[in-house]
Amino acid sequence: MSAYVGNIVDSVTSIFDGMAVTFSHFFRRPYTVQYPDRMPVRVQDALPYRYRGFLEVDLEICTGCLACERACPIDCIAIDVLKNKETKQNLLVRFDIDLAKCMYCGLCSEPCPTGSIHHTREFEGADYSLESMVRRFVLDPVETYKPKKSGEDDPAIVPILERGMRYVNEFAVPEAPPKPPKKDAAPAVKPAVGAAAAEGQP
């Protein structure tokens, strides 16, 4: 008999408390993240700054050295460079990255001497055709970048080169850099790639 009453008391009290637990959930915020259209910030901006998203190339500082093409383990980068015998200038006529093939390993951006090829935090590439995933960075042939012995002085290229070098330096270290220099306006946690992502895809 006491077990009988005990059973009743047990079930009533435990259900009572269980109902209190679930009721308390009405006063908590849901955890749901309503990607993609109802986000407080773009999800790209919330990603870690070393996130390996779509590759991007800054043609202004690309030396045409083909280091990235050689580093790519699956040959998704295709670069054609023409050498102008008279002016000794290299002409970049093709720089294609097949993002559908790319496995986002980051091996191309490590050997890049200027940080021209780099990862952004963009990742939304859904499309109806594979061809559209091939990013063609060279539309009109451009001359490759040549580092100057005296240091860069073209005001149009200086910030791009700074960004690229910062990217290279940070990519080489295993952890996040301690702190960016004070003159850098970017926030401490995501200095370089944050700036790159803010520029966005063309």
Partner: protein, 396 residues
Amino acid sequence: MRAYLDAVAAGYPSTSPALVYLLGMLAFGALVVFVFILPVAGITSWVERRVWARIQSRIGPNRVGPGGFLQWLADGLKNLLKEDVIPAAVDVPMFRLAPYVVVAGFCAAFVALPFAGSLIIADLNIGILYISAITSLVVIGILMAGWSSNNKWSMLGGIRSATQIICYEIPVGLSIFPAVLLSGTLSMQGIVAAQGWAPTSWHMFHSPFAFVAFVMFFVGALAEGNRTPFDLPEADSELVAGFATEYSGMRSLLFFLAEWGNLYVIGVLVSTLFMGGWQVPHFTDNAVVLTVAQFATMFLKAYFWVFVAMWVRATLPRVRVDQFMTLCWKYMVPIGLVNVIGAATVMVLLPDGSIVLRLIMVTVAVAILVQFARRVLFHLHRADYGRLGRIGEGAA
């Protein structure tokens, strides 16, 4: 209703009055079904999903219409347009008929449900008896669906449903008795009229026995409505979808329509039998305003219990078949019998009803609610340290 049809019949002397009555009944029935039952059942499906979602720290459907309110219309439309698959090996006539029997069984219950003082389709003098009898028609439909599907899971689901209804008719009936004894009538309007708007005059606070009867009625009604924790007939993890396994499209939806509609019926029954139904203070002489207030009161009370049923569903796990039988035959039936005798004894000892006893009961109920609120706050604080940014505050 009757008077109106009489007047209409008098206007067409050449037609038989029976035909006028029949057509009138059909038209009125269709009106009630489309204007009230379908929207209530549909909206309940949306409310239920939102309530579960919040309990599970999700958001729930919030895209269709404001706050996702029109989700039920979208779902209904989608299911209407879906293919109505009828498997080759089923018993076709029974298979096709079963959902209609289920829906008919639950719609028929609305005949005797009181919406307001003057709003009731038919105030049968055996109202509550009629409702508990006609809702058992649902089990016939479910059994038909289970048997005709020619599928092990469906059949097990159908048989379980039949077992459930047969077993739980008894404790539910026993817990209806105290309310009927207190009112001295089986008519739904009579039961409501025997109570007042104040909680002290509700049947549930008449005596401890009446209160236990109220709790037992709610539990038993959940079991009869195949609601979690008693959803053995459609136990997803054991029986795929039980009796609804082979159904698709609108036929499948009809089962769920009946389930959601049944929730509302349960809510109305609980509030009618034990919570004073549509009773409101007589604050105005305007009959229309009074009726609207009564309707709103009834609806809110009923919907509160619908909400509780959803909340229970989100809280409690499904019982096993043996636990389910134990609960019914070893606990609810004996307690129900004791309850009937106890409630009758209290009535004999206190023929006019003791206001002291009622006040004590109300006080106890308030104390239970206060304790509940304290437990909710306790769990809220314990769980929300992290979310409020206080994580590790007291940690070493």
